[in-house]
């Protein structure tokens, strides 16, 4: 039997972190955007244990202020693309600057310094990832996906998809379904 899941990554992570913190007997509060305030004093040993536990779930505790800001930028982008039913129409630069209360120029420079990429590229990549996910579940057709992700046309989405992945959306869909078949046989 094959069951298809649809999951809210954000919610799942909050639940995991809450459970682990509770288990360690720490009191905490969520400040939003991946920031958590621990009310008690935390020993180095305990902190290390928490870091190790979180790694099992693919959750990383971030060390430097720059890293943390880059992660916040990524989180805002991912949240914008995944949680909104339809992408906000306002310019993403304005959206990011408002959400993080910093100038876009600053955010954009920092992001390029710290990653191999630019904010623009990261957004395109994430939008194409979202498109892939929607294509794989076969719940929506390309026209609907283009609308959801704020592309002016199906052609625009197809072009960006091809530029990012080197494949057309339909070739991608064919490969994924052949891969599924192949994994069943294996």
């Amino acid at each position: 039997m094959i069951i298809n899941f649809k999951y809210d990554i954000h919610k799942a992570c909050v639940k995991i972190i809450s459970d682990e913190l509770k288990e360690m007997g720490l009191s905490y509060s969520f400040n939003g955007l991946g920031e958590i305030k621990i009310k008690d004093k935390i020993e180095d040993q305990e902190f290390e244990a928490l870091r190790q536990k979180m790694l099992l779930y693919g959750i990383t505790i971030i060390n430097t202020a720059k890293e943390s800001l880059v992660q916040k930028i990524k989180d805002v982008i991912v949240e914008m693309i995944y949680l909104e039913e339809k992408l906000p129409v306002a310019k993403t630069s304005t959206y990011l600057a408002e959400k993080l209360n910093l100038s876009y120029g600053h955010l954009s420079n920092l992001f390029s310094e710290e990653t191999f990429s630019t904010i623009e590229n990261f957004i395109i990549l994430q939008k194409i990832e979202r498109a892939k996910e929607l294509l794989v579940t076969e719940e929506f057709n390309l026209t609907e996906i283009a609308y959801k992700l704020n592309y002016s046309s199906v052609a625009h989405l197809s072009n960006q998809f091809k530029k990012t992945t080197g494949l057309t959306p339909s070739t991608f869909q064919r490969i994924i379904s052949r891969r599924k078949e192949n994994n069943k046989i294996r």
């Binding site: 990261f122 996910e133 992945t165 080197g166 052949r178 891969r179």
Partner: protein, 148 residues
């Protein structure tokens, strides 16, 4: 830039191709460490040796003596410890069938070996930066497919 280095592993039996690849990557100004092996068997031994760092991406030539690229790909993808590695097929073939079949078997990246040095640099830069995003931004590796 993040301090961490990017580990790259190339399996190719052609010495010139290995050199060409190394030169191109070194000119990209990314913090990469390149390791090369000469055939598929050597590759699998290298990957299974726990003393070696897990590469962020493995480049496989399709035609190699002893063990070919496709065989290595299948072995990597069916090994629980290795299956999450990003695998790039690095081949002279540009046939649509070879490309699709590699992806179906689990390859993440397909690069047609370019003849021109600058083209190679461009292709490698795209592959490495995209792969980095997939390794560091929690993106879904299962749908990571890139054809250059």
């Amino acid at each position: 830039m993040n301090q961490s280095k990017i580990h790259v592993l190339l399996a190719d039996d052609d010495e010139d191709d290995r050199l060409f690849f190394r030169d191109a990557i070194n000119q990209l100004n990314l913090k990469t460490i390149v390791h090369t092996v000469e055939d598929g068997e050597e590759l699998m031994v290298w990957l299974r040796d726990e003393g070696n760092p897990q590469p962020h991406v493995v480049f496989l030539d399709l035609n190699m003596p002893k063990k070919g690229g496709i065989e290595c790909l299948e072995e990597i993808k069916s090994c629980p410890k290795l299956k999450d590695l990003s695998v790039a097929i690095y081949s002279t073939s540009s046939s649509q069938k070879d490309i699709e079949d590699s992806f179906v078997l689990g390859a993440n990246i397909y690069i047609k070996k370019p003849n021109d040095f600058n083209e190679l640099k461009k292709a490698l830069s795209k592959v490495i930066s995209m792969n980095w995003q997939f390794c560091t931004s929690g993106l879904n590796k299962e749908s990571f497919i890139l054809n250059v």
